[in-house]
Amino acid sequence: MALQAAKPLIRRHSELGIFLIGAVLIVIFATTSEGRWANLYNIGTILQMTATLGLMSLGVALVIGTGEIDISVGSTFGMGALAYLWLAMQIDPVVAVFAALAVGAAIGLFNGLLVTRSGTPSLIITLGTLMIFRGIAIALTEGFSFSIPYADRKGWAYFLFGGGEFLRFNTALYWLIGALVVLMIVLKAMPFGNRLLAVGGSAESAHSRGVRVDRVKLVTFVICGMLAAFAGALEAGKLGFADGSMGRLMELQAIAACVLGGCLLAGGRISLPGALMGAFVLSSIQSYLVVTGVRPQWFLLILGLVVVIAAYGDRTLRQWALKK
């Protein structure tokens, strides 16, 4: 009876599955690691990882919501990091963050224009831009060094963009929470969000109701690019250096986080908190393997299995909830 009552709830909240998985994993991790996982320092590390991956996942989730996909975010992340480091050193961190955002917006605009103007699948277009900007990032870092010595990273601006901790947590986490709140409001309570989901649910129907489908997609790609580049800037702000491979494979993790979080790849149904929880679960697994001394090689294997099993579990749960 109680299970029956849960059905409508699950129907409406696709992210419940990942929160369930997350809760189970937290208990397992906390009890089997003899306090090495569940301590404030380690949680802080996990949350910092979650923050950068999560910002990227939020953007990817929005793009998935329109029924498209963006796998170029890993390279956008790297380009954002490089733009930030280059300008933070020479001019000012605040200017640098805006530059990183501009770079991200430009890449997103490029993706969006190619997808909407040519009508080709976004998977291929963003696969292409993933490679284009990865190559550029590597080429840039081969000639120049992108690092800021620790001693130079002083001042509130560095502190604000990933370089410091507030209430024991990296400042990136607060940016993530801010982005989540803003995007949730946009998605759920503003006309743009309504149109975004409509485009993903049925682009034809949305078009017939006068929604400018291409424009919605374009804006979403730009937002996604900006978030990924901003995440890159925050990561660079924390590390103080970057190389050409920064953000590699992160696009896949971000997509995995979205799927774990109950976002439907076909579009129209996404959950932003779910995507964040997905990012948190992925980061937690990674950290658990590190603190328990499991060779980090296992991470990829486990990540792969978790992605497929979670996708399957999510689907089963959904089908069960839809049954009368």
Partner: protein
């Protein structure tokens, strides 16, 4: 005719999908206060024609005038802004959104807070609840339910309800009675007549000539992307018109030749 200036005037319209010639030199006038039946077999080009009128397709050549002004850009947004409301056959509702969100899709009512537009949920909900009750949807369906849960007839009712609610100058109905029960069908047909009497142009698309003959002032028959007949219902009987459809327009050619 009610007046001389047609509300919608289509002139020499041609439309190609790739190599497929979907509309062939179609010219037709529609006047305000008229209920026009657009009839033809499957694939005759009826739906394609009205998809041009409501801005989904851009014609390859030819002109469309609305209220005397030539239409330069075709987009559903512009058509809706002009007051052309369309009930599409297969599209119009997004399964993943609630009824209330679908109802106002593309022209969401907003409350501004510090200049930022927020959806006006209470208005969206009240309005759509009113319409779904009026159209007799099941009592346990609320405006917050996703369209995914609705049956074919219920979806159709929501679409018709939406078009009637936003009625402006033109209502185009594409096979509006598909999926509907006999009682619902009568309701829709009554609505079509009511809208006409309020001075709107109603274009009613169907392949059932007998049904529309009773309602319409004028019947336009299409065949293979061409307009083959355009007759007032008091000048031709339903049987004669059916014969035209069956002959694929050849009867008319013969008459014209004579």
């Amino acid at each position: 005719m009610t007046n001389n200036q047609p509300l919608i005037q289509v002139r020499n319209l041609d439309l190609y999908f790739g190599a497929f010639h979907a509309l062939k030199n179609v010219s037709v006038d529609f006047h305000a206060g008229e209920l026009v039946g657009l009839v033809g077999d499957n694939g005759a080009g009826k739906t394609t024609l009205i998809r041009v009128l409501c801005g989904i397709h851009t014609p390859t050549s030819g002109e469309v005038f609305f209220d005397g002004r030539k239409i330069v850009k075709f987009h559903p947004k512009l058509a809706i802004d002009q007051g052309i409301e369309t009930i599409q056959q297969s599209v119009g509702l997004c399964d993943n959104l609630s009824i209330a969100r679908n109802f106002y899709l593309g022209r969401e009512p907003v409350k501004r807070f510090l200049g930022v537009p927020f959806l006006d949920f209470s208005r969206m909900r009240d309005m759509s609840t009113k319409v779904i009750r009026q159209f007799g949807l099941r009592d346990n369906v609320s405006a917050d339910d996703e369209v995914e849960r609705l049956s074919g007839g219920e979806r159709q009712s929501v679409k018709i309800g939406r078009a009637v609610e936003f009625k402006n100058r033109v209502v185009i109905m594409d096979e509006p009675t598909n999926h509907l029960s006999v009682r619902e069908r009568e309701h829709v047909n009554e609505l079509a007549v009511q809208l006409k009497e309020q001075g709107l142009l109603v274009i009613y698309i169907t392949h059932d000539i007998f049904q529309v003959h009773k309602l319409a002032d004028r019947i336009v028959i299409m065949e293979n992307g061409e307009k083959v007949a355009d007759a007032m219902t008091d000048s031709m009987s339903a049987e004669e018109l059916e014969e035209v459809i069956r002959q694929g327009g050849r009867v008319i050619e013969k008459q014209e030749a004579v």
